[in-house]
């Protein structure tokens, strides 16, 4: 561990409280001791606090920080980062606003990692890990990554765009010490699976390999050899092109796997192959996570049963299972902590969850047919209530449904008062309680009153300002709030801005909040990471006023083609020490 090259004068004589030299630092520790102590600090929040104590501590902290976390890539610049932190080996960078996942942010908006990588290549030659979320990454950037950092080990790309399988070829070819290649939710130019064959024949260091979101077929022989060589492989998530008998062969090579993402289950197996697959699964004694399972049908589910007992995370979001077959499967998973399913399992399936998974902490129910305007199948409030009854440890829920009642939500939070993440999406915008026809205000009122640890909340349904009054009054630990098609007036947004002391991210769309609401948060926005407001009632003039009065905020506006000149259709406000973006495309107006 390298210490500060400019040690302070009192290095060998720790000053005591009687010291009259007020110009000298007050730290009682020699530098290397302080540095050693601080090197144990991992949490960014702790390190931030430490750096504010005094100049010495600030310096000691910056010399000992190795992991960099930047939640908004535009809040700081590569130059500032490089100057402050000399010894970084691991970087996490997040780019676009979350609503870009739902096509609300145009292409070429920004968040390009390129200039970051150029700076890192100069200043952090010992960079080992890079984790990117919602960033644009070009093949050229991947080439730099692959060649500029000889010790590079872990690459994780979540919801990124801009690269192709050619970029992956560079990584596979050049990163001799790669332990992790994790590509998730990524829509890229998938030319062919040849990238996988670029791992050298003597390369065997992979611990994590996830290419589930790529479509094209890889060379199976190359994959099988790679898996055999990587003795420490613990996470393997293959793509749909891998068939069942190929999967069986991979499992034989890697029975030590802890996380498995299967390929497609569509193959028609002969009876002998069925038995082979079943025993391959039961041979994987360390399996904790299972995902993939494309096109799985009830006939093939039993091969998984043996592996299910030790599972803690089951991700069925690509498997359209019905309630009966799902119920049969879930009965084998008593140790489940996290479950992601499609709503094809219906309420009956969720009842089975309630009775089979007493340790469940997280549930996500995704809509199989989110645009089904007609039949509104899927799950209802009954399924949610059933889970809450059986799973008292539940604290994270993401639930898509077509109908909900205030009473049901009240019951749910009574059963599970420890929610930290409550994300309810009633899929028809502005839908009231379907039994009483009243707004869903009382539902979310119950959530914030009962769940004092609530950190993240997504609201939906017909909501008046009352919901936001409740949130402002009770949600004292709330950090992230997502609002759509809700509220009656500016008062709603004002309540939240005035009331939630820990609010960091606020994203709003299609709500009747206007300029008064926007401007009521003047002081607040500097304490937050960002604010997103789209299709509300905010004008450009108000945004300009905000920008004028708060110079340390970046206020960016994007306009829709059809709207009139004064409307600020999409507003993105975030604090930054780097000043306005230098790479903003023409459709992003920086005020």
């Amino acid at each position: 561990m390298q210490t500060d090259p400019n040690p302070k004068k009192s290095k060998d004589s720790p000053s005591n409280s009687d010291s009259t030299e007020s110009t000298q630092s007050a730290s009682p520790f020699p530098d290397d001791v302080l540095g050693k102590v601080l090197s144990f600090l991992n949490s960014d929040k702790d390190r931030s606090s430490v750096s504010l104590v005094c100049k010495d501590w600030y310096n000691a902290e910056r010399w000992t920080r190795t992991k960099l976390f930047i939640g908004n890539c535009y809040s700081v610049s590569p130059e500032i980062v490089a100057t402050r932190f000399p010894k970084i080996t691991s970087v996490t960078l997040k780019g676009k606003p979350r609503f870009s996942d739902f096509n609300l942010v145009p292409q070429n908006w920004g968040a390009d990692v390129h200039y970051w990588l150029v700076m890192f290549a100069k200043v952090y030659p010992f960079l080992e890990e890079l984790r990117l979320k919602r960033m644009t990454v070009s093949d050229e950037s991947l080439e730099i990554l692959a060649t500029a950092f000889p010790g590079f080990r872990a690459l994780s790309l979540m919801s990124c765009d801009g690269f192709s399988t050619d970029g992956l070829k560079s990584v596979a070819t050049h990163c001799r010490n790669l332990t992790e290649l994790d590509i998730q939710d990524t829509d890229i130019d998938d030319f062919n699976g040849g990238w996988l064959s670029c791992f050298p024949e003597n390369f065997g260091s992979l611990e994590v390999l996830n290419f589930a979101s790529l479509d094209s077929e890889v060379n199976f022989d190359a994959l099988e050899r790679l898996v055999s060589r990587c003795k420490s492989l613990r996470v393997l998530k293959v793509n749909k092109s891998i068939t069942l008998d190929q999967l069986q062969r991979l499992l034989l090579r890697a029975p030590q796997l802890m996380e498995l993402g299967t390929g497609s289950f569509q193959q028609e197996l002969l009876p002998g192959q069925f038995g082979d697959l079943e025993s391959a699964f039961s041979n994987c004694k360390n399996l904790r996570t299972l995902s993939g399972l494309w096109e799985v049908t009830s006939v093939y589910l039993p091969v998984l049963y043996a592996a299910c007992t030790s599972l803690t995370f089951l991700n069925l979001s690509y498997a359209a299972l019905r309630s009966v077959e799902f119920g049969n499967l879930i009965a084998y998973c008593p140790n489940l902590r996290r479950l992601w399913v499609l709503d094809t399992v219906e309420d009956k399936g969720l009842e089975a969850v309630g009775s089979s998974c007493p340790l469940l902490e997280e549930l996500r129910v995704f809509p199989a047919d989110p645009f089904d305007q007609q039949l509104h199948r899927g799950v209802t409030e009954l399924g949610f209530v059933a889970v809450s009854r059986g799973c008292s440890k539940l604290h994270y829920v993401l639930y898509f449904c077509w109908q909900m009642t205030n009473a049901a939500v009240a019951t749910i939070v009574q059963n599970c008062p420890n929610f930290t993440h409550f994300r309810l999406c009633i899929m028809n915008p502005g839908r009231p309680d379907y039994l009483t026809n009243e707004p869903m205000d009382e539902a979310f009122g119950a959530v914030v009153k009962t769940c004092t640890k609530l950190q993240r909340l997504s609201v939906s349904g017909l909501l008046t300002d009352l919901t936001f009054e409740y949130i402002g009054k009770h949600a004292k630990n709330l950090e992230t709030l997502s609002v759509a098609f809700a509220g009656s007036s500016d008062l709603g947004m004002q309540c939240v801005l005035e009331g939630c002391p820990k609010l960091r991210k606020l994203e709003i769309r299609d709500c009747p909040f206007g300029n008064a609401a926007l401007l009521s948060g003047l002081e607040k926005y500097e304490k937050m990471r960002s604010l997103w407001m789209s299709s509300c009632n905010v004008t450009i003039t108000a945004c300009q006023q905000l920008a004028r009065e708060m110079p340390r905020l970046n206020v960016e506006v994007m306009k829709d083609k059809e709207s009139d000149d004064s409307q600020a259709d999409k507003v993105y406000v975030y604090r930054s020490v780097a000043g306005p973006r230098r790479d903003a495309p023409p459709f992003v107006l920086t005020l």
Binding site: D101, N103, W294, C425, G430, L462
Partner: protein, 184 residues
Amino acid sequence: MERASAAYENDLNLKATELRLGLPGTDESSEKQSSRNYKRSSPEMDNSCQKDEQKCVPASKAQVVGWPPVRSYLKNVLHQKNDSDLSGMFVKVSMDGAPYLRKIDIKVYKNYPDLLKALENMFKCSIGVYSEREGCNGSDFSPTYEDKDGDWMLVGDVPWDMFITSCKRLRIMKGSEAKGLGCL
């Protein structure tokens, strides 16, 4: 099907032939609880006219960009469902006097009353299941179906499970036409 076409020719249901926007069964006066204007539509979503009875927005609204908030990545994967998989059995439903046919997934319903209720909602009429005691329950329409052999049968005779595997299409006949099938 001669019988069906005869029904159409003899019928002077003027409302059905009236020119208007909207699918059969929709009411002009759909409830509007919210006056929000969902003017934006996404080019990548299906913009076909959607019937809506339960929501409080105009029936002809186009889908909203980025709603529901499901990632496009997940969306694309989910829509690659097989036609032959077990997750739906869509049959055509025709109603005497209506110019358009509808399609429903009969696997969604648990029993006959469920199915009939849905059909009544869809076509805004009262449909009765035939029973030996009550006839067609005094209603104007009776439901019939074409089975695997191509025969037209009265809905309600066979157990529900047998019905859903043998039903190929449904036809809601006017009471007077269904006389031959047992209604009076």
